[in-house]
């Protein structure tokens, strides 16, 4: 920032090109370069969002047109739609378990792989592999059949004499198959943790050892505090991703949210209202509540971050 300010006079003394203003600004070139994003932003994000907000106050149906109905959609959502609350509770349960599990696995494995031993590159690739294919339909299909009644999990349990369980049909278990699937795909946060761990100076651990600190003390007093910015970043990204989970739930329950709506994730329910029964006004209202909740949660995490995120410099991440 500052060094370009120092160069200003030199630039100003050049013969002024068209569109170049006095302060070294080049509005024409700047807007030309960002114009693809700018146009797409308005056409495919901003205007649709404004429309979506407006639709939230209508009963828009793609075949029947629309009427302005005020807050009726929100009234229906909060007071009259049992499935809405089931989908909220399924999503909350999923996020509350899947996100911490994923982060714990990610950090644990990252610490295991933070060594110079031979073969670490291979292990890192192997632990990351499930995440590379994680969002695909193929893996969701695989997971569904792993937890099938005759599937892999029941076959393994059978060898220990356990009776087979219908994992995907049982209201208590179905969501856990999805939580496990999420926990299995900890590759991205793992790599980010790994990069963070490499930043921690080795001398800190050495001097702690000299002072007689054991492994747990070193982890709690050195590793965790210095890693909080990375944990913070991973937490936000994973929270948002968790709330938007769609494909896996769609494939594993065949788009139904069964059993008893216990896997009816919020994104799935918005899809069903918007594109199966075409209640697009209602679906838009739900989408805006989702946006508000994600914004609120992100704001809370940011606000509280000053209490638990440790920055070595005051520059931030």
């Amino acid at each position: 920032m500052t060094d370009s300010a120092l160069r200003l006079p030199r630039r100003g003394s050049r013969k002024r090109k068209e569109g170049r203003s006095r302060w070294g600004e080049n509005n024409l070139a700047g807007y030309l370069f960002i114009s693809p994003w700018l146009i797409a932003f308005f056409a495919f994000a901003f205007i649709p969002m404004v429309l979506s907000f407006a639709l939230a106050f209508t009963d828009y149906h793609i075949l029947r047109g629309w009427n302005f109905i005020g807050l009726d959609n929100f009234q229906r959502m909060f007071y009259n739609d049992v499935r809405y609350w089931r989908s909220v509770s399924a999503t909350v349960k999923y996020v509350v378990f899947a996100v911490p599990l994923r982060l714990v696995f990610a950090l644990g494995v990252a610490m295991l792989l933070n060594t110079n031993r031979r073969g670490v590159a291979f292990y890192r690739a192997a632990f990351y592999a499930p995440s590379v294919v994680g969002a695909s339909v193929a893996v969701a299909v695989m997971w569904r059949e792993v937890f099938n009644r005759e599937g892999l999990v029941n076959a393994i349990l059978g060898q220990f004499g356990q009776p087979s369980i219908w994992w995907l049909g049982h209201p208590d278990y179905a969501i856990w198959t999805l939580i496990l699937l999420a926990a299995w795909q900890f590759g991205s946060p793992m790599l980010i943790f790994l990069a963070g761990l490499k930043q921690i100076p080795e001398q800190l651990y050495e001097s702690a050892s000299i002072d007689g600190a054991n492994g747990i003390q070193k982890f709690v007093r050195i590793t965790l505090p210095l890693l909080t910015p990375v944990i913070f970043f991973n937490l936000i990204m994973q929270l948002i991703a968790g709330f938007m989970t769609f494909t896996q739930a769609f494939i594993i329950t065949n788009g139904s949210g069964r059993p008893l709506d216990t896997t009816l994730f919020y994104a799935l329910y918005v899809y069903k209202r918007g594109f199966e029964t075409y209640e697009m006004g209602y679906a838009s209202a739900m989408a805006w509540v989702m946006l508000a909740v994600i914004a609120l949660l992100t704001a809370i995490v940011f606000r509280t971050s000053s209490h638990w995120v440790y920055y070595e410099t005051d520059e931030g991440i």
Binding site: I39, P48, Y123, V139, L152, S188, M244
Partner: protein, 303 residues
Amino acid sequence: MSSAENPVSRSLPYAGSARLSPPWYQRKAVRTVLYHVFVGLATLAMLYPLLWLFGSSLKGPSEIWTRQTALIPNEIHFDNYKNGWDGFGDISFATFYKNSFFYAGVGTLLTVSASAVVAYGFARIKFRGKRIWFGLMLLTLMLPIQVQIIPQYIMFNELGWINTFYPLLLPRLGGQAFFIFMIVQFIRGIPRELDEAALIDGCGQGGIFFRIILPQLKPVIITAAIFSFYWTWEDFLTPLLYLNSPKLYTISLALRTFSDPSGATNWGEVFAMSALSLVPVFLIFVFFQRYLVQGIATTGLKG
């Protein structure tokens, strides 16, 4: 570990020679072996479901639900791949692969080239309102697409573009916030001397971008292209919304129909086609792993 354990090791039979060396479980060689046994087993557990998928794709109908835990079938059935390839409704997987390669190929090309252009604007040119636009772009990273897809669908429906690839490809003309941010970070790391010199020589911003910056962007462009290809290849929601005719199905949609529990009968074929759809992804992963790891570590992308 601590001095409290030393008396124990001194009382062991071999204590005489081992007095100053650590106990057996702390020796370097032993710890290395233990490490590899433990991490190796964990790796195997991680990869087991994927290996199981590939194993099951070669199993015959008599084995598939009876020898579930086996990774290597007694009898290898390559015909699962041959028969599965025939697809459904007279449309073979050749069509689905063609559609997927088209969507992922063109989609990636558009996304990455637009992202590079936009990133240059944000990283190197001073213009009024830049900070606001850049901030807005970063905010879109957190936006749930649910607040956009319904009006988008209505819009594309009005234009008569359902069952075409336009709704899937047009939004990519503006690049993608993730990649724009990633490339901006990369360009900021490139020294300015060369562009300053070119500017003095009368080179315009376009010339600086194409002649000086773009050639240096190769690593970050490869990283962005890989991620973009992955996300497009695996994209499910957008094709689900806009491609209703089986002739236009991408692999994701085709697999969903092909594996429908109420219709599928030959699970060997389902597993074969599922496994096959992961092959391009794994091939890229094996050859370009370095770019992926760096890309995630430096910008914290989600995977």
